[in-house]
């Protein structure tokens, strides 16, 4: 069974440019998470989807970040415009129904963003 797929793995852009990350969760997982991992830190939740619905986006900086999961399967996270401080690893994870706390979250390899 394929794991969580993310692309690209690495992205280097100039500041003020837009950037997008793509995630395909494990088949059958209806909950999808985007995390931000700064260097030397643990992941921090940006947004959680239940199927197509964003049910927790309280930590998403909405002035420049946006996300979508149109058909309840794969998802895209966008930054426009990117700032130097956005350099980090962006992790995607998926799980079975989130209403069962303790359900394992499966993580993708992440996208490492460098903003110059």
């Amino acid at each position: 069974e394929a794991g969580v797929v993310q692309s690209p793995r690495y992205k280097i852009i100039e500041k003020k440019q837009p950037v997008a990350f793509w995630c395909n969760p494990i088949s059958g997982h209806n909950t999808l998470y985007w995390y931000l991992q700064n260097l030397g830190q643990g992941p921090e939740l940006l947004i959680r989807y239940e199927n197509e619905e964003a049910v927790d986006d309280s930590q998403l900086p909405k002035d420049r970040f946006s996300a979508e999961r149109l058909k309840g399967v794969d998802s895209t996270l966008k930054i426009q415009p990117a700032e130097l401080g956005d350099s980090a690893v962006y992790l995607c994870a998926s799980s079975l129904v989130a209403q069962s706390p303790g359900n394992e979250q499966f993580f993708g390899p992440g996208t490492r963003l460098t903003v110059l």
Binding site: G3, Q41, P43, E44, V55, Q99, P101, G102, G110
Partner: protein, 114 residues
Amino acid sequence: AQSVTQLDSQVPVFEEAPVELRCNYSSSVSVYLFWYVQYPNQGLQLLLKYLSGSTLVKGINGFEAEFNKSQTSFHLRKPSVHISDTAEYFCAVSVLGATNKLIFGTGTLLAVQP
């Protein structure tokens, strides 16, 4: 609010020696506890979790952890480490009744030396 503290940013240890990675949490409500491992350039992988029941939890790769409610700790242990255990280890909590939101510590780099 919940928080997780991993006081050791790096733990050097020789191969075949025992190791303990410390994790303390703060919460006014009951929590679930997790340990994840992150190998270089990879995503996080679940090592073990405590939901309820026995306070000693066994995970993959020979790791175990013990939940201590009075000390609000969930330390990770392995009796004999291998070079391949070199990785970043993250402790995390989620709140009972909440919907699986994980709060992570800052991580501990386990550096196994030959």
